[in-house]
Amino acid sequence: MEWQFFLEVLVGGLLAGVMYSLVALGFVLIYKASGVFNFAQGAMVLFAALSFVSIQAMGVPFWLALLLTLALMVLLGVGIERVVLRPLVNQPPITLFMATIGLSFFLEGLAQMVWGTDVHGLELGIADEPFDVGGVFISKFDLFAAAVGGTLVAALALFFSKTKLGRALRAVADDHQAAMSVGIPLKHIWAIVWGVAGFVALVAGLLWGSRLGVQFALTLVVLKALPVLILGGFTSVPGAIIGGLIIGAGEKLAEVYLGPFVGGGIENWFPYMLALLFLLVRPEGLFGEKHIERV
């Protein structure tokens, strides 16, 4: 049945989009708190997943390995703040962006140096098998990932809007100097947000690692997150999830229904085109903050 197939492509795309959102969330967190596009997010995903499987390979039980990796990622976040970002406070955003490019290569090398270059399998105990809903196959793993993504987004949205720390993070993102002048401890804020981004990287790394294996190619999943960010806005946590859903569904439907007319293989560039079209209408993205400046 054609409508069943359409539904299957749509649902599959939406669920794939949630996986993209998980990676996009890490970018949003850092950008919200520091106005920095963190080029190293992909490397952080790799570092987190590789650390987890390597610690587990030493015979450490799952939950303990998870806690140890989380601690490691928080330490890494604090370390990044100390060594890379603190000396660059009040520097132009492009300087901070360039620093994250350097950080990306450093983390990729560090991950391989510390944990080795071998590919690891990762089983989270949720089979990536389909179940049949009226002739439409839906992956159990995708549903699990969607639940994790949804929970994460809800928790982060609440954190940013309802907690004192969350509001402080937003203030820092608006203006470093103004935030510091009203007593917000910028250094601590950055360390916390990089730590939280490390946690998000760990979640994304585990889910993507379970799907692709834990290997260097995990750094490439950021390519899927970029159009999500463009579309959803760099500063919106719900935007990351809505953007992911639109991009995921859009690229799958395009590949299946438009692909055959142009030779196929359009899934890589179509999301970017879709995001650029959105930009024509809403330059700040669907949920990004509008910047109004007095001239």
């Binding site: 197939f5 140096m113 196959f137 692709l212 190619a217 490439l220 299946v256 030779g263």
Partner: protein, 435 residues
């Protein structure tokens, strides 16, 4: 600090071996860091172990000690070219290069021709280069991409009880969206025409981390088999996606780039039953592997940081690469004498390889790879592929060595070589006159 750590810290430097001008120099353009380091470290580890084994066991080849020097390419074309330039004239001159990269091979082909240094492209690279009349310095030894593609279809023929039973079957070619991925499309089209099966090509945009839509299309098409032409992360992503749409992994057949432990382990349980081609079998059962472990690792000179990887697919491929390199040097020494030889002389040796059953037994490699006999015109020397199935822990052979369908490949090679020679305004070698 383990060897990986050393390799990473020296990523931007050339790792010097023990090279002296009077020895036979073999450049090692390895990739031990970056996206493909996992396979590269084992492949080049196996190759280096074999060179050291020959030195330790025989004192080199014909009394000429083998020396090597590593250069890290990171599997990147620009770095590969840099390594080529850095090593080509070192230590008396390079014997031959094996980049284990189609991209770097293409990037260095013209240079190698000019410098008269052979490129060993065992199992990969330009398929039509098996015609030595046009590609004097390129050697796609054992099996080219086109040979493998025809072997894959023949393997499916065996699975359905004969090639005649392929008529009416439906096969999907799921390929990497790159020049590498597209290379076998004409061969498979010719096979489909010859045997009457329905063939559908489905492209996966590189790198292939997400394949939901392609596999939904496959589920809708309901093919009998999927031929996978994958590379890197595309392989586990394909297997996981196949699992997700309920496509049996037993009906997926990949080429050798998708047939290592790294590919299968990354996919976890989804890889169980999956089949891939191979030109060099894995395992420690071969005397040559056992001898390397005893002699080289026994002396504490093994290249792998973890001995557990001895006998893995990529390690054994590396050993085979070392064997072919050394056998080419031996063949060349018979003509030019036991002394340091230049690239062109090694090219002659590579063009006159004869690793028959007797020689395989002497080398301790019986059934590890097919017999190889090259000539001026035939730079492949074999054309055989064998198929392995992942049982969840190991690769197990599920076929004998299957010879390429030369009725399909040779006309395509001829057409491609004719076009190439016209574009280059070159005259093909007269192999009869060179005898």
């Amino acid at each position: 600090m383990n060897k990986t750590a050393v390799a990473v810290s020296l990523a931007l430097l050339t790792v010097a071996g023990v090279a002296q001008a009077a020895d036979q120099f073999i450049p090692i353009p390895s990739y031990r860091v970056g996206a493909y380091a996992s396979g590269g470290a084992k492949f080049y580890g196996g190759m280096i172990d074999y060179l050291n084994y020959v030195n330790m066991k025989e004192g080199g080849v014909g009394g000429v000690k083998l020396t090597y020097e590593e250069c890290e390419t990171e599997y990147k074309n620009d770095r590969g070219v840099e390594c080529y330039e850095r090593l080509k004239a070192k230590n008396g001159g390079a014997s031959a290069f094996n980049f284990m990269s189609t991209g770097i091979t293409y990037a260095t082909m013209d240079r190698a021709e000019k410098d008269k240094i052979p490129l060993m492209t065992m199992g990969f690279g330009r398929a039509d280069a098996q015609d030595g009349r046009a590609f004097k310095y390129v050697f796609p030894l054992i099996t080219s991409y086109w040979s493998q593609a025809t072997a894959k279809v023949q393997f499916l023929g065996q699975r359905v009880g004969g090639m005649q039973n392929l008529k009416g079957k439906k096969i999907v070619n799921l390929y990497h969206g790159s020049a590498y991925g597209k290379e076998t499309i004409p061969v498979l089209d010719a096979m489909a025409k010859k045997y009457g099966f329905e063939l559908q090509h489905v492209e996966v945009p590189a790198p292939g981390t997400e394949q939901q839509s392609q596999w939904l299309e496959i589920r809708r098409a309901r093919p009998d088999f999927v031929l996978l032409r994958s590379w890197g992360v595309m392989t586990p992503a394909a297997l996981k996606s196949a699992q997700k749409v309920g496509f049996p992994r037993e009906n997926i057949v990949a080429n050798w780039w998708g047939g290592s432990e790294e590919d299968a382990i990354a996919a976890g349980d989804a890889a169980k039953g999956y089949i891939a081609g191979s030109f060099a079998l894995d395992g420690r059962q071969f005397p040559v592997i056992q001898n390397i472990e005893k002699t080289v690792y026994g002396a504490g000179k093994g290249n792998l940081s973890d001995k557990g990887f001895i006998g893995t697919v990529n390690y054994n491929r590396g050993v085979v690469s070392g064997i072919l390199m050394v056998e080419a040097i031996r063949a060349a020494q018979k003509k030019y004498g036991a002394k340091t030889l230049n690239g062109d002389q090694i090219r002659w040796g590579m063009e006159n390889l004869n690793i028959d059953a007797k020689r395989q037994q002497e080398l301790g490699v019986t059934d590890m790879f097919p017999q190889v006999k090259t000539s001026c015109q035939n730079h492949e020397g074999s054309g055989y592929t064998r198929f392995m199935q992942w049982d969840g822990k190991d690769w197990k052979p599920v076929s004998g060595w299957i010879k390429a369908d030369t009725g399909v490949t040779l006309p395509l090679i001829k057409a491609s070589v004719d076009k190439y020679s016209q574009e280059k305004s070159m005259k093909l070698r007269d192999c009869a006159a060179e005898k």
